[in-house]
Symmetry: none
Subunit: 194 residues, 4 copies
Amino acid sequence: MKNNKPKYMLIIDAAVDVIAENGYHASQVSKIAKRAGVADGTIYLYFKNKEDILVSVFEEKMGQFIEQIATATNERENASDKLLTLIEMHFGQLAANHHLAIVTQLELRQSNLELRQQINRILKPYLVVIDGILKEGIKEKLFRKDINVPLLRQMIFGTLDETVTNWVMNEDKYDLIGLAPTVHELITQGISAK
Amino acid sequence: MKNNKPKYMLIIDAAVDVIAENGYHASQVSKIAKRAGVADGTIYLYFKNKEDILVSVFEEKMGQFIEQIATATNERENASDKLLTLIEMHFGQLAANHHLAIVTQLELRQSNLELRQQINRILKPYLVVIDGILKEGIKEKLFRKDINVPLLRQMIFGTLDETVTNWVMNEDKYDLIGLAPTVHELITQGISAK
Amino acid sequence: MKNNKPKYMLIIDAAVDVIAENGYHASQVSKIAKRAGVADGTIYLYFKNKEDILVSVFEEKMGQFIEQIATATNERENASDKLLTLIEMHFGQLAANHHLAIVTQLELRQSNLELRQQINRILKPYLVVIDGILKEGIKEKLFRKDINVPLLRQMIFGTLDETVTNWVMNEDKYDLIGLAPTVHELITQGISAK
Amino acid sequence: MKNNKPKYMLIIDAAVDVIAENGYHASQVSKIAKRAGVADGTIYLYFKNKEDILVSVFEEKMGQFIEQIATATNERENASDKLLTLIEMHFGQLAANHHLAIVTQLELRQSNLELRQQINRILKPYLVVIDGILKEGIKEKLFRKDINVPLLRQMIFGTLDETVTNWVMNEDKYDLIGLAPTVHELITQGISAK
DNA sequence: TATGAATGAGCCTTCATTCAT
DNA sequence: AATGAATGAAGGCTCATTCAT
């Protein structure tokens, strides 16, 4: 029997499935090990402790997530289009991977402060991507030059995050990706009449 | 010695402090009891179980929170002013109560799905307040009539929530309330130049 | 409102019902108090502690039980008839009082050694009645003069007790009293052919 | 150090000792674990819960008990001899194992209905052995053909059980095995003079 | 590398009993 | 005599982590 996939990724993938199916608190190390087809002890050859599995899940999955968004936005011509692409891909990637969406939006938040801070560190590059788009938009005079970039980034991220969380908690009953243009328009145009 | 404060609120307040100081997972029932100055068993005369303490904390504190915001916004003349007041008070109340902010933004999220759904139920009236302001703004022709109210409400709540969470995680190093006008302006005007 | 029944017996009767319905381990003092219509604390004006309630239940109920059997057997002419009457009444009284049968045969046995020894002390007079019948039978030459009275008493009591317990555990599906003549005959005649 | 004895039996034996010495209710799982020389958690690798330890104690010990009695009675020629052997061994085995006698006669009865029903299930084969002897005796015309086998079996079991319980509660002050012939005779001959 | 049996610290909850009123 | 709110000790069970093989 040949098993090329290194055990590391086997365990990561098992963790995503187990957490999505059982919830954070019912996801014992032994359950993840069983799903990955390894012994409990083997987990500790690849991860420092249980928390390290969780951080690594986020690191691996978000790494791809961010990288793909960064690549895709770079292919667009201006900041406004880049922002639209970012929103579409943010919604699209989580809508396409139901288990991952449950884990990132619901389960991973049930963790202690220390873990949450590590998660924030992992998210940093994503926030840098958003900041870049905003700064570029200002330079291109597409966006107002007086905007508070960090604050606006929080607004954008908070909006996307809240929207995805609501969608997950409503059990995917509507088309998430379809919301992208509207969200994009709200951010750029505001809600004032005229 | 006279102790008029009913034990129920004593325990609620003790829970806020203990959770803010120790984090959700290190907040044993016995620790909350000790802080409240009652016996462990007394907790169970007022709360069904540990989770019930947490739900009740949110219920009590958010109840006041929402009520005060609803009252204050009602005193303003138009939807735009109401929205500004809502943002100011949302930031203001959490900025004024550091422990409560830690609990609502960080600790209470470390709970299971069932508890989170109860929390959402408690938050419902707040979302209704936001929806009301948006609908009024449309009627007053202050806001565009084509806006998707539920989606925009998610955007607003997500923005406020993310902004407060960032502020808490940065250990209150800047003036949260001062951000209110900018956030209000972003929401109403958007970011597009002109 | 007039309530002539002293609270003592109210509590005893409540205890029998509560224990029969809920089982020994689910019969909290507060449940007995509620059934008796008194406050928890009132229990302790009449009983030293929870165990004392149980001992008293047995004392009161078995007191009547034994007294009635003693009286009835005394009215019969000879030891063999007295033995039959004792068996009939032992079966009859428990068959007539379902709750009491559950308590004496099943629930009261789930108690610690000390309580069981007190129960044995209460049962003593019953054993004396049996011994008396056996000795009388020997004197009347109805029973063999070489029988070991204490041992035989154990045999008789063990037989009756086991028979009633089986009947209770079978949920009273057959006629207990109808077994009395057969049991009486087995004890007096043995099982040997001829 | 070599320890071939599987932990399962180590725990069973420790449970018998601890329960005999401390009584059922004072036999904490941690006490049994300590006596067995294993960690508390190890108990739960071999037993579902505390009650499962008790059922298993009875299952293991009674299994041997019943098997040995079945084997020994089979070696006797007729039903009457078989009955005598059964009585001798019933008394003999419990007299030889003081701790086990305390557990079976006193402590194991302090359990809830569900456990008692499991105990009855385990005892079933023993009752089948008794029934077999009685039926054989009828066929051999040693016993009366009109006897009610289930009732008589209750009488026999009740007599033996009550006799052993009395002996245990009297702290083994007399020779239990010596009672066997008398009990046998009482059962077969009855108590009637001639 | 890999295993998985063994470990043992840690905590929520119950309920008999008390005592101020 | 009666109340019932308050007490606080006690223990079964889980599960992340280790380590001998």
